[in-house]
């Protein structure tokens, strides 16, 4: 999974997608996830970072994370490809 090329994420949570011309606002935890995706962390690594930082449980986080990824995908902000790494 990768952030699409040229998608700009500002520190305050503004995203601009130059391909579609759309702008978005993202909350701080959303920005963190986008940064972790940019760093090419996988889902397990991302979960770990967030669980250490926030008071929530794995199930809730997984659920919300999956939902967030769906929406990013829906807005064409990320590319999901088969994870073939071992």
């Amino acid at each position: 999974m990768k952030l699409r090329k040229n998608v700009a994420v500002s520190e305050v949570g503004l995203i601009f997608n130059p391909v579609t011309g759309e702008s978005f606002s993202v909350n701080p935890i959303g920005v963190e996830i986008l940064e972790l995706i940019r760093e090419e962390k996988d889902q397990n690594q991302i979960m770990q970072v967030l669980l250490e930082k926030y008071s929530t449980d794995q199930a809730t986080l997984e659920n919300d994370y999956a939902d967030f990824i769906d929406i990013l995908n829906h807005h064409h902000l990320i590319e999901i490809h088969e994870e073939t790494k071992d």
């Binding site: 305050v12 949570g13 503004l14 702008s23 606002s25």
Partner: protein, 348 residues
């Protein structure tokens, strides 16, 4: 001598194809001779063109929609006032007037002045009340009837002749030539704006507008009549010309004398082929074509600000006849950062 500077908050920056009056009001204020201005734009949506007109608007803050409630609006205006020291606010949307009329004393206590109609004046001129309004103030209005029930439609032909106008309580109007059409429009308009529906006599003739300013004591401070020359598919004047019509001015003066209207207004008038005038609607604010008033020698927004500030204003008595306004659209180039700034932070 240096002129005093007044900080004025202005809404209605949506200078689009069915424009809000804000940008025209600001242009008038920029040409005021009795004061200098700093203009604080008050916007609802991030794409209101006025937000990005930096030569007209010094700074813009987004404000909550009237549907959010008066308390919320007050909290936002207090915040803006803290930063900008507002002296005057000129609202340019009908829907804003209700909460702002209610907030007038509170804003006044902060030193923010407005010049608005009273709540009674605002309510009396609502479309559903037009018949009573005409009776009470002895002003000719087209005959109209408020209906709630589709079944009562069948008795209409005994009271009205075709065509008749079917109107929503806030917006929308269609001309019906048969009972079937009345029914269709009844359903269509009530689905969108709710009940009641207003049935109004159709007046054949030409459409005229008058804008002006009443002092709240029955006196006419300003009045400029205009004939629409070109009407867009949204019913807005694209071009118009100032005219001299004593009858129209008489009706305007009568309206102001009898209602003691306070503030700016626009009258929508119809003149039938016998030259009789009918009042169709009263808009409780300045119209989008208000800049024409500056062009003909009556800077109504300037006078309104002076009245709001408690100054004595000498009524305008003359204006240039035969001056035209022609509206045009203009594409601005705007950086995305500005759009994001107003969208994210509500300030630009």
């Amino acid at each position: 001598m240096k002129k005093r500077k007044i900080n004025i908050g202005v809404t209605g920056l949506n200078a689009i194809d069915s424009p809000g009056p804000g940008v025209s009001v600001i242009r008038a204020l920029r040409e005021a001779v009795s004061f200098d201005v700093r203009i604080i734009g008050l916007s609802y949506e991030s794409l209101e063109p006025g937000i990005y007109m930096h030569d007209l608007v010094d700074r813009t803050y987004s404000i909550p929609y009237p549907a959010g409630g008066a308390d919320l609006l007050m909290a936002r205006l207090e915040y803006i006032h803290e930063k900008e020291k507002l002296d005057v606010i000129i609202p340019n949307f009908d829907a804003e007037l209700y909460p702002l009329i209610k907030l007038e004393p509170k804003l006044k206590a902060l030193g923010i002045h407005m010049f608005l109609p009273t709540l009674t004046q605002f309510e009396e001129r609502q479309k559903v009340n037009l018949n009573d309004f005409g009776k009470k103030y002895n002003i000719s209005v087209p005959k109209s009837k408020v209906i709630y029930d589709l079944n009562t439609v069948h008795s209409l032909p005994s009271e009205f002749s075709f065509p008749m106008i079917v109107k929503g309580k806030f917006y929308d109007a269609s001309i019906a030539y048969s009972i079937e059409q009345v029914k269709t429009f009844f359903n269509k308009i009530s689905a969108k704006w709710g009940l009641p529906i207003i049935i109004q006599e159709f007046i054949h003739g030409a459409e005229f507008n008058v804008t002006g300013l009443g002092d709240g004591n029955g006196n006419t401070i300003a009045a400029v009549p205009m004939r629409k020359q070109y009407i867009t598919d949204k019913g807005k004047a694209w071009g118009g010309i100032s005219i001299s019509d004593e009858k129209m001015l008489d009706m305007t003066r009568k309206f102001l004398r009898n209602t003691k209207w306070r503030g700016g207004f626009e009258l929508e008038l119809m003149k039938n082929k016998d030259g009789e005038l009918y009042l169709l609607e009263i808009n409780p604010r300045l119209p989008a074509w208000i800049y024409l008033s500056v062009g003909v020698g009556q800077n109504i927004p300037e006078a309104l600000v002076n009245m709001a500030m408690g100054e004595t204003v000498t009524p305008f008595v003359t204006y240039d006849v035969g001056k035209m306004f022609i509206r045009y659209a203009w594409d601005m180039i705007v950086d995305r950062e500005e759009f994001e700034q107003i969208s994210m932070y509500g300030e630009l």
